[in-house]
Amino acid sequence: MAGSGLRGRVRTARFPLAAPSWPTTVERPDPERKVGLDYDHEWSRRYPVRLARAVVMDNVTRPVARLLAPPTVRGLEHLQHLDGPVIFAANHASHIDTPLLLTTLPVEFRHRTIVAAASDYFFDRTWKSVLWSFSLAAIPIERSKVNRKSADTAAELLEEGWSLVIFPEGGRSPDGWTQPFRGGAAYLARRTKRPVVPVYLHGTRHVLPKTPEPGTRAPGGSGSESSRGGRLRRSPIAVLFGAPMTPDEGENAHRFSDRVEAAVATLSREVHSDWWQARRAVSAVAPVAGAETAHRGPEAPDWRRAWALDQPPSRSRRAEWPD
């Protein structure tokens, strides 16, 4: 048959039709991979790619995200009067955070926002680099240490009019509680003079929990996080946007970062109460003790920290457990 003949020919094709084999007497050098921080992601911001990404985002990612994680979105009014790019600084508990956050952004931001993604995790392979650059407009960021190239790239793109999603914790929370913020978002805000919008994402760890590190997996606990790590599960979420913040005169990046973290903590309190109660808890007149760091959880053994973690928002629970 002609088809099988062609397949046979393809299978038996030899150099130069097929790729050359490597002489066993020659040491194979490490392939020169342009991944990680060296990955050239400029293509992902060209117009045809942006158009394709917008089509996928609006017609595939967004409906799927709504179905998988019905969101309660608060605070979008803070974005209405913003002119130009901003830095969205959010807590981080799950890989699903990025698409969920992007799909809840107003359309004027949604297709003009890049995502700072860990270069060692999302850009360590060419296929991953291509995938995340295309689907999320991600750019590689060095998270383990200060890197001028990362900072320069992000700052240049902010100055070009791209908003930036960054997770100042530097990685997903290991237990659901928020980790201390690093200074990257605050530094970029000071450098580019663009505002930071604090964002609190609630419940995303129930949608796609973090897979525990090898060796920390609980032994066979049915229904425990360890047994369902890395698997998607339908669960409602809440996305809360805070008021844009800019560094005060003379305020350094470290102090500004603390303020951004506190703003996210305040948003976290809104999930169970309301804006007014949350504001009162951090009021300058009558602060609630420990309110600014409440989002980090109690200083207690692991099981108590896990116990104290909040539940999904009530509206979604109603949908999940109808009367």
Binding site: F15, P16, L17, A19, P20, S21, W22, P23, T24, T25, V26, E32
Partner: protein
């Protein structure tokens, strides 16, 4: 990434087929397991500011020479000589190195108020360059300033009015060179050093010499005792040129030698696969190879020749040094070896090589069978230091179409040499005795050399003499894919495929010979231990 040095591959089951030049084309051959393939070092980094480097070299000469500006003065007679079309190969992308160097020299001469300046192409017995070739080598600015006034000349080894006899060396070698150059207050020689045999005293002693002078070292005896041409201490050709050069210096000719070396980035990006190791060929390389080899197989040789000769090499300036001839040339030689040298352990029974479409004597011309022999046995065979790559009594296998085609304008005496001499003898010594004189003094060849664009009548003999060392050393020469009649005329054995050639070779070297392939391009020099 730092550049990788030269490399000797041992062929195994996983080794992809190896590239062989095949005239105006190329092919892939599967070499027997255990064969060796010698790859050249990767190109050296080009000098970032070539004009700056040239200027620096002229201002900081080596050896017993003052900086060039100090040697220039009003009222002096300055002659600038330069290497001809035979270098570099292929012709380099503009601007040519000669243009860059000569422009810098002329800037200094103009600044010093030198009025009497003449440029001389150091042709020796090569063909005269055409106007486009001169314009390419020198640039329009230089050409238009000198050629219309008759101040851009080409050395004429048969012009008795412009030759001067300087004397005889202690070995009885006559020294007769270009009169204008020899009687100038300063002779600036601008060289391009492609291989370690080039340059040094050979620039003036050969490039500006007459037949009377050249015959003392361009003969079978000298060539056979140059082992190799590239290994200066072991080269009788080198020794002879040094004797001549020193006599020229003693005669009062002040030479300011400017030598340049190139990196071995030989072919432009669309032919990049030619100089890559086959197992590192990318998809693009394979596609380019497939497309070009298929297309070249379908077009007539005349067209493929035009395509190849239109290629301009991205060669870049790797070093420039100036000053006294011998001091300069010591640096130049070291730089050439740094670019081209490859360490090779031991000799081989069979040496294989693919021969390209070009050699120093057929730029913009046809590679005739005599030049095929010269390129393979005169040049590639001699690309060694220490010992020849192939053992004494071994076999050389060359791949080239070897068509009996000649350029009648460039190589008229080659046609008669092929028909009248090679039919009688292929022994360099015998043809030297029997035929050389008549070809060298034939008035028609002399006329064509002086007024047309023909190589001198004696030139095909010299090409054959270049092969003398190899012919005396090897047991058999086999040409794969060559025109059988032409190959036999050269005294070689024709073979239709590499396997056939290996079969033929087994008669000489036995059934289990060792084989080494000289991978080209780029050119390399083997340091055989």
């Amino acid at each position: 990434m730092s550049r990788r040095p030269g490399f000797v591959l041992e062929v195994d089951k996983s080794t992809p087929p190896t590239l062989f030049w095949n005239g105006e084309g190329f092919t892939l051959e599967t070499l027997p397991e255990g064969s060796r393939v010698i790859y050249a070092p990767e190109p050296m980094k080009a000098l970032e500011d070539p004009y700056g480097a040239i200027r620096h070299a002229l201002l900081h000469p080596v050896g017993d020479r003052d900086p060039l500006p100090a040697l220039l003065r009003p009222g002096m007679k300055l002659t600038i000589c330069f290497d001809d079309i035979s270098l570099p190969l292929p012709q380099m992308e503009a601007p040519d190195i000669r243009q860059m160097v000569i422009e810098t020299v002329l800037d200094m001469a103009a600044e010093a108020g030198v009025d009497d300046v003449v440029l001389v192409a150091a042709l020796a017995l090569h063909r005269r360059m055409t106007e486009p070739e001169l314009r390419h080598a020198l640039g329009d600015r230089v050409y238009d300033a000198f050629a219309p006034h008759g101040l851009l000349t080409q050395h004429d080894a048969e012009d008795p009015d412009n030759l001067i006899y300087l004397g005889q060396t202690d070995q009885g070698e006559d020294v007769e060179i270009n009169k204008r150059a020899a009687t100038s207050d300063l002779l600036v020689y601008v060289n391009i050093n492609l291989v370690s045999m080039d340059g040094g005293h050979k620039s003036v002693a050969t490039g500006l010499a007459s037949y009377r002078s050249l015959r003392h070292h361009h003969n079978p005896q000298t060539m056979r005792h140059s082992r190799s041409f590239m290994d200066q201490p072991s080269s009788e050709l080198h020794s002879s040129n040094w004797r001549l050069g020193r006599l020229i210096a003693e005669s009062g000719v002040t030479v300011f030698q400017i030598e340049t070396t190139l990196n071995n980035d030989t072919f432009p990006s669309n032919f990049a696969f030619l100089q890559k190791r086959e197992w590192e060929w990318s998809l693009r390389d394979r596609a380019t190879y497939g497309a070009t080899s298929t297309a070249l197989a379908k077009v007539p040789p005349r067209l493929s020749r035009q395509i190849f000769h239109s290629i301009r090499s991205p060669h870049a300036l790797a070093s420039v040094q100036a000053g006294e001839v011998e001091a300069v040339h010591a640096l130049t030689t070291a730089n050439v070896w740094a670019q081209q040298g490859v360490d090779v352990e031991g000799q081989t029974d069979i040496l294989t090589m693919g021969l390209p479409y070009i050699c120093p004597y057929n730029v913009n011309s046809i590679m005739n069978p005599i030049l095929v022999a010269c390129l393979g046995l005169g040049y590639f065979f001699n690309m060694y230091r220490g010992k020849p790559l192939v053992r004494e009594g071994g076999v050389v296998i060359m791949r080239h179409p070897t068509r009996p085609e000649f350029h009648p304008g460039h190589h008229p005496s080659y046609i008669d040499f092929y028909e009248q001499v090679l039919t009688q003898t292929v022994d360099p010594t015998e043809m030297h005795k029997e035929f050389e004189e008549s070809f060298a003094t034939d008035p028609w060849y002399v006329h064509l050399y002086r007024t047309g664009h023909a190589y001198h009548g004696v030139h095909p003999f010299y090409m054959w003499y270049w092969c003398a060392h190899a012919l005396a050393h090897v047991g058999r020469v086999i040409v794969v894919g060559g025109d059988a009649k032409a190959v036999r005329r050269l005294g070689f054995s024709p073979a239709s495929s590499l396997n056939d050639a290996l079969e033929i070779a087994s008669d000489v070297v036995g059934p289990s010979p060792t084989l080494t392939h000289l991978h080209n391009p780029p050119i390399l020099m083997a340091d055989v231990h």
